[in-house]
């Protein structure tokens, strides 16, 4: 199958979609800020505690895994149309299926 769909006259469309994503990203960022403020107001976290937070080794590893998955989903998107075996898809997600014992 051809993996090419958009033409030069779709570049403006892509620009509009990226701009819309900026709005959606800000809505989510704003919501996180509101939640932080509410947590501070209710004395569940202290002011600056989120900024000063140092992840534990285990949590840092969790964050790295989540971050890598997000990077793979975005940076790896062009590969999705080209390398399509189940094992390639799982490898991009940092996974593999259980090996069947002979």
């Amino acid at each position: 199958m051809s993996n090419t769909y958009l033409g030069p006259d779709n570049i403006d469309d892509l620009g509009r979609m990226v701009t819309a994503l900026l709005t959606e990203l800000w809505i989510t960022r704003d919501r996180v800020a509101v939640l932080e403020q509410l947590l501070e107001d209710k004395k569940i976290v202290l002011p600056g505690e989120v900024d000063d937070y140092i992840p534990s080794e285990d949590f840092e590893a969790d964050l790295e895994r989540i971050r890598d998955r997000m990077a793979a989903n975005v940076i790896g998107a062009p590969l999705a149309a080209r390398e399509r075996s189940v094992d390639q898809i799982l490898a991009r997600a940092g996974m593999e299926r259980p090996r069947v014992e002979a």
């Binding site: 051809s2 769909y5 033409g7 006259d9 989903n73 399509r84 189940v86 898809i89 997600a93 996974m95």
Partner: protein
């Protein structure tokens, strides 16, 4: 809107991602497609295309679709809508397989041997060459991944439940479609009902709801799909005999042994000759006076050129190698040649979907 999909068994990341894929497809199929249609219909070629194909033979119909596709592909909104469709179709596997793999422990709790107990697997079955395909862009085909059963339930179904893919319009309720198709059968006293190509068993639910006392027999080429069907029928307490068979060659059912046959979204998955062979086999196993109802996307002759271009697109872009071949065919005419009588073909939903063909074996 009421969900036509189970509560997700995926983690938050998987569930949220699947939900967003559904939202993308729904919006593109609705608003972007409507605008793309307007662009298409404003083209200089639109009036001539709206007059239809120059003949009723398959070559004339495909020539008409080719001319309409040339016009559509020049339109930016058509390309944008198709880009989104393609992105979602690919992401169902690119995003969905890791999402399911992450929950493997949840899905793998039931040993295959237990599930297989309820299936007549045929290790000697000759799988036809055409079946070697990454159907619907599914890596490795129907049996290419042991978790395709839960993948179908927790990734494909929540996205498809919103409609807006292939022939199903936005808002289409596929579960209701199955009930509506089964309801076309004219009698209520069938004792044995057969479904070739049962896939994951979703249509068996509809048949059982409409005919709770009938014995259900179903077949498929794919063992993984039969396992998914067995899990579904067991969960819902639906008695059904599931057999791995090639319904286009030999179901191994006795002559004149079933009262009715139901097919749902099957015929566009087979080459034309296999479809004719399958219909001939169904004629053999049906009792005299037995009924058959077929359901598939509408034939190109029954829809407008823009709609035909959208359906034709699936052939190359959604790994549906026989989609256009089926769209250019006339199953009612083929069934008449085989010997069926009282053949009727008509749409029972918006956008001519589902399209049903109803017929009877004389007797």
């Amino acid at each position: 809107m009421t969900r036509n999909a189970p509560v997700s068994a995926l983690g938050q990341h998987g569930r949220a991602g699947v939900d967003m894929l559904g939202a993308m497809q729904k919006f593109a199929s609705n608003h972007v497609r409507r605008a793309a249609r307007q662009q298409f219909e404003a083209s200089a070629e639109a009036p001539a295309l709206a007059a239809g194909a120059t003949g009723e033979d398959r070559a004339s119909i495909m020539d008409w679709v080719d001319r309409a596709r040339d016009v559509a592909e020049r339109q930016s909104l058509y390309r944008l809508e198709r880009f989104t469709q393609a992105y979602v179709a690919l992401s169902i596997y690119e995003f969905g397989i890791p999402a399911v793999e992450r929950s493997r422990a949840r899905f793998a709790a039931e040993a295959d041997s237990v599930v297989d107990d309820g299936i007549e697997v045929d290790p000697q079955l000759t799988i036809p060459d055409y079946f070697d395909c990454d159907w619907h862009l599914r890596p490795g085909g129907w049996d290419g991944y042991d978790l395709y059963g839960p993948h179908g339930l927790h990734v494909v179904k929540p996205i498809f439940a919103l409609g807006g893919f292939a022939a199903a319009p936005v808002g289409a309720n596929i579960g209701q479609h199955r009930l509506d198709v089964v309801a076309q059968l004219p009698r209520r006293d069938y004792r044995r009902i057969y479904e070739p190509g049962c896939g994951n068993g979703s249509t068996l639910i509809a048949i059982h709801k409409s005919f709770p006392d009938a014995e259900l027999i179903a077949c498929d080429l794919s063992v993984e799909q039969l396992r998914a069907a067995r899990r579904l029928t067991d969960t819902l307490g639906i008695p059904a005999t599931l057999r791995q068979r090639d319904a286009a060659t030999d179901t191994r059912e006795p002559d004149e042994s079933v009262d009715a046959v139901v097919t749902f979204a099957l015929h566009h998955e087979l080459p034309h000759a296999a479809n004719v062979a399958l219909l001939t086999e169904m004629f053999r196993i049906l009792k005299p006076g037995g009924d058959i109802v077929l359901s598939d996307p509408p034939p190109f002759r029954a829809i407008d050129p823009f709609h035909a271009v959208l359906l034709d697109w699936d052939t190359e872009h959604r790994a549906e190698p026989f989609f256009s071949e089926a769209g250019a065919s006339d199953w009612g005419a083929e069934m008449t040649k085989i010997g069926f009588v009282d053949v009727k073909a008509y749409a029972i939903g918006p956008d001519s979907y589902p399209w049903v063909t109803l017929a009877r074996k004389p007797g």
